[in-house]
């Protein structure tokens, strides 16, 4: 019998798949959580944070005006602002109140504020006291900054007019940014800023439970020896189990992508209705099918790489718990390049295209953003396939080591 004869490999694959699909933990960790839990979590976090920020932005904050006896105009105009209410009379312990969040911010003006402003000369100091750890305090401080910014603008315009000058005097150069990127590329790069990380993470977590269950778990349950007593070769067993783990890894990533797309399609209308223009960026997102196709192609060797690596780790471990201990550094080793690949300023080049995981992360970001750097894509595919083959070879070697298989 050839060591890679297909029939026994398929027998092992079908049996492992059947057993895993009957395992509630496998279904929850690889399908339910990523397809339902993760989008729900993102939606809840997004919804709650948008709600908190929205409420804080729309609420009126109490502010204190200190030393403004000489400027009733400022007090009156601030009162008309709408977003803040000036506390009257000004409490003596205003500083403590800002720290205690009972008053959101305080403006400290010199007693001769109006006179100094009318006189001109040195800038008149205005201090805005706020609480850096309080979102509402920061919003109130921003409102006050805006108010004094407008006041400054009005005074400057009045002084220019008095001097017979126009505002152009203060703007010798008029700088403007002009975006030349088509909207789909801008939207794609938004998706590319987070999607590769999620996909890589899901690919890894999708492989983890099956890989450990089919190796260390089998050792624990005593079924490994039963399997080894059959005439199927160790390589065939390894390949059968590897196919199962890869199927779960790919399945998890693809189901999650499909699920997130479905959630987004269903939820974008609701988001726009709830959050209004603020959600328009999300609601208008479009992703090209070609980008998705390219990422799926890259996912295959990535899933092979993760599955083979985790299987090797699992078969080496004495128990699932020991395997999970070994897996912690591996998870970091996979997540760190995935995150690095998304950092602003990182540029894909041929050297990066050779580094596994980092290359997939960066190429995915590029293709989601509508860029197709073909040489780097080819290098990435070649590199990740090479490392995947190496990991698979290592796994089959591990399955042939009796000191590993019978490690007790």
């Amino acid at each position: 019998m050839s060591p890679y004869a297909l029939k026994p490999i398929l027998a092992v694959f079908h049996k492992e798949l059947r057993e895993l699909l009957r395992d509630r933990r496998a279904i929850i960790t690889t399908f339910v959580l990523p397809t339902m839990g993760l989008p729900l979590l993102l939606l809840i976090i997004g919804g709650v944070s948008a709600g908190i920020v929205g409420k804080a932005m729309s609420d009126t904050s109490e502010v204190a005006l200190v030393g403004a006896g000489a400027s009733p105009a400022v007090r009156a105009e601030l009162g008309k602002l709408g977003r803040v209410t000036v506390v009257a009379p000004t409490p003596a312990d205003w500083r403590e109140r800002v720290a205690a969040k009972s008053v959101r911010a305080a403006v400290e003006l010199p007693d001769d504020f109006d006179a100094r402003l009318a006189r001109g000369g040195e800038p008149v100091p205005v201090k805005i006291h706020y609480h850096e750890g309080d979102l509402r305090s920061k919003i109130a401080a921003s409102a006050l900054e805006g108010f004094f910014g407008e006041l400054k603008e009005r005074v400057v315009l009045a002084r220019l007019a008095a001097a017979g000058q126009t505002p152009a005097l203060l703007r010798p150069v008029d700088t403007r940014r002009v975006n030349v990127a088509p909207p789909e590329k801008v939207q794609g790069s938004r998706v590319g800023s987070i999607a590769p990380y999620l996909i890589i993470l899901l690919c890894l977590t999708g492989a983890m439970y099956p890989a450990f269950d089919l190796t260390a778990g089998e050792k624990e349950r005593g079924t490994m020896e039963t399997l080894l007593s059959s005439p199927v070769s160790r390589r065939q067993i390894a390949v059968g189990k590897f196919l199962t783990v890869t199927a779960f890894s790919l399945g998890t990533a693809l189901f999650s992508m499909a699920s997130m797309t479905a959630w987004w399609l269903l939820g974008r209308g609701a988001m726009a209705a709830i959050f209004g223009p603020k959600a328009s960026g999300l609601a208008d997102l479009t992703i090209s099918p070609a980008s998705v196709g390219a990422v799926v192609v890259l996912l295959v060797p990535l899933a092979v790489f993760f599955s083979a690596g985790l299987l090797a780790l699992g078969v080496f471990a004495r128990s699932s718990r020991e395997a999970q201990t070994y897996a912690a550094p591996l998870v970091f080793a996979a997540i760190i390049p995935a995150v690095i690949g998304l950092l602003p300023g990182m540029e894909l080049n041929w050297k990066i295209a050779l580094i596994p995981v980092l290359n997939v992360s960066m190429v995915s970001r590029e293709v989601f953003g509508g860029e197709w750097p073909w040489p780097e894509i080819a290098l990435t595919l070649g590199s990740i396939s090479f490392f995947a083959a190496l990991a698979l070879w290592g796994t089959t070697q591990m399955f042939r080591k009796e000191t590993v298989l019978f490690r007790a």
């Binding site: 019998m1 029939k7 026994p8 027998a11 092992v12 049996k15 059947r18 057993e19 009957r22 395992d23 349950r221 005593g222 079924t223 020896e225 039963t226 399997l227 080894l228 007593s229 059959s230 005439p231 199927v232 070769s233 009796e402 000191t403 019978f406």
Partner: protein, 244 residues
Amino acid sequence: MIEARALSKTYPGKPPVQAVQDVTFTCRPGEIYGLLGANGAGKTTTLRMLATMLRPTGGSAMVGGHDSVAEPDQARACVGFLSTATALYSRLTAGETVRYFGRLHGLSEKIIRERSARLFDRLEMRAFEDRRCDKLSTGQKQRVSIARTLIHDPPVMIFDEPTTGLDVMTARSILAFVRECRGAGKAVIYSTHIMHEAEKLCDRVGVIHGGRLLAEGKPEDLRREGEDLEDAFVRIVGGEGGES
């Protein structure tokens, strides 16, 4: 037929551990050969080498006419291996388990259907054929294990302490099954540290201790006047403190 010729196994380490040294014996078709030894004597390592799960570091073995080192897959295909360590897949049903092992042995679906039907009838498994293994009683699990080892009708059966931890009734059914295997002309190796079991069951026994086969023969030939097999065993391994 099983022939172990100077089988040896040394595990690497500092210092290396010599688990089995120069073990030689023969088990003929229609014979039950008992391998007697205390825990850690080298029984399981010897049996795992015969079943080609472990590769010997010295010597060789012929199993069902195949060299266990040169043709491990063919040798393993001739063996039915049953021990307390060979558990069942909890999430498969009894029927699925037996059929799965039929497939692993390369049997056609037709033969698997025919043989599993015969085995299920003979072992009275019909009532729980479709029940998952984690829902079965210990006795039912043992019957599934037996069916699993017999689905490919192997000429060689290896039992490694199969009754350890079982209740009396289940243990008796296992012993009856072992006798059936002998009756069917299979070469049977039966490892145990329960002496009265070996005395009742085995045609010949080998006493293994510290990885070496110290004595071999019919149980009555190993006993001296007034001794039972347990006394003989203790004498052969060097007294009460002879445990390895």
